[in-house]
Amino acid sequence: MQILVCAGTGCQASLSEELLSQLNSEIEANELENDVQAIRTGCFGFCEQGPIIKIMPDNTFYTQVKPQDATEVIQEHIIKGRRVERLLFTDPETKEKIADSRKMGFYKKQMRIALRNCGFIDPDNIDDAIAKDAYEALGKVVTEMSPEEAIETLKKSGLRGRGGGGFSTGLKWEYAFKNRADQKYVVCNADEGDPGAFMDRSILEGDPHTVLEAMAICGYCIGADKGLIYIRAEYPLAIERLKTAIVQAREYGLLGKSIFGTDFSFDIELKYGAGAFVCGEETALIHSMEGERGEPTVKPPFPAESGFMGRPTNVNNVETFASIPPIYLKGADWFAKIGTNRSTGTKVFALAGKVNNVGLVEVPMGITLRDVIFEIGGGIKNGKKFKAIQTGGPSGGCLTEEHLDTPIEFDTLLAVGSMMGSGGMIVLDEDDCMVEVSKYFLDFTVEESCGKCSPCRIGNKRLHELLEHICKGNAEESDLDRLRNMSTVIKESSLCGLGQTSPNPVLSTLDNFMNEYLAHVIDKKCPAGACKELMNYVISETNCVGCTACARVCPVNAISGERKEPHFIDISVCIKCGACMDKCKFDAISIQ
């Protein structure tokens, strides 16, 4: 038998290590070493009920187990084979005790639809995909449904685009369907330019066939026989897997002429991008595929009217496509029941930053930020305090403690000044300076602006300069108004989504962390201790014993003092590298 003890950070904080050693000593005391082992595992993702242990092979799940419960677990469960009722989890709804962890699906806050096959199948082997239902939805659509019916199903499912805008996928297909033309195109947007986002890459690397299948379904619905995947050349593995998948699908006749014996034909080609963020914007993407400059143009005309080569073109995101085949296999109602009324289904997030379980998570829409950070993410690293969560990448905003119980939906996130975006989520703790965070995103937009229109090209540069002044302590209070005014102008007068959203990180931090901006401009202090120019390293005369360790480690010789006498730092020389503070054994150096 085995006792799995959760060693996630949340459980460790609630004494799971002590519990483990208690269990081990009980095992020894009863001479069970050869039959029973207690071992640590990763986070179960149910941290509020920790410490958690699971007994194998019978799958018994005990919650809130204290070190002093070890004796009972060993005596009762292991030796006598009787469950310890009092440690079983009680279902909050039915008040029933649940023993078998497999019946506790509800505690598993994640639900995988778009990622359903990632990590299960061999992505280079179409047979593996087919064994997991690949191309069955395509078969069903082309042989049993008319394009109108298939589009209706998608509309009923409530699926909204996962690429950022959140537009209804069914409606988009309907526009493209209604526009008559001799040739139409299906485009998959695999540009994925948000810093920190990698869900599209993971889908393409883990389950390329689902994207090919959904593109073919789209082709059938809108009347296109050609698909194009726009993918950044920086994704070599995804490109290789897609190429293999396309060859295999053609061999099986699942792409090509008369698919499933019908007169529907569809084939797919890859187009490579050079990795510019703005080329993820659909009009810029289309120009880039045409061999033109990757610059956006005014909408309308929308791609559904005049897209690639001037023909009606339907552009969808990778994750949007990956969500589609299950909708046809399991029905629009099934999908619409997951999530919330106005945001159905699931969304994949790339959880990053100061959170313990960094990774890809897929959750039903409507789950709270708190659940994502503290349950699935296992809480904040190193026991620090949560400060903010940045969602939506360079177009999104920073949300605070007070938004933790906001359900994650397209519209609710917009209402609180952020957005879903493509699904980046960066968790920030007390050591992060919010001014610096907005500067980081502005760095990115200034770099990535295509320069076509002046509000974005020049305005963002000026915003960035202002933020730099603030971080260096060279700004006045009135600069904060300028920051806000300029942000509003950029938002209102930029041509494309990049410029229209680039000031969001600034605006949301101004709204939610005004005090921090004020501290920078009035007191010339950075409360988080992150802005180098605003802090000074100081040696405390009382704590310093004059060991000279700091003076020896300082790379610029800014520290002087006699042996066994308190030392001091010349701040005009100090480059604020922090080496002295790391070296000091007497806690004599602090930041002020």
Binding site: Q37, G42, M111, C118, G119, A131, D133, S202, D207, I376
Partner: protein, 130 residues
Amino acid sequence: MSKVKTVADLKKMKSKLQAKVELREKGDSPEGRVVIKVGMATSGIASGAKEVMAFLIEELDKRNIDAVVMQTGDMGYCFAEPTIEVKRPGEEPVVFGYVDKAKADEIIEKYIKFGELVEGILPDNYQTID
């Protein structure tokens, strides 16, 4: 391989392939064999998944253990790459994280050979659709 011409073809193929997948897990021996999946997405490979996969293939062969080692995509546990999933015949699969060669060796010697779990297990914390 013949072309799929009808939906019935695809379904027939699917059930054959499902049987094949099952066979891959069972092998020739009646009680089945061990199936190991290595997470080979960019994040896994960057943390050394390729080396771990090569190590597993070589060592299992050397140690005469009947097992299949295959690649798969991202399991989502990026904080714990490289990750591998090990399924012993007739048992639920178990995912291990932070697998380097030493860990892989421990997994072979303890878990694969004797079913004795070792540290580094990542409990699955999501539901899938079937």
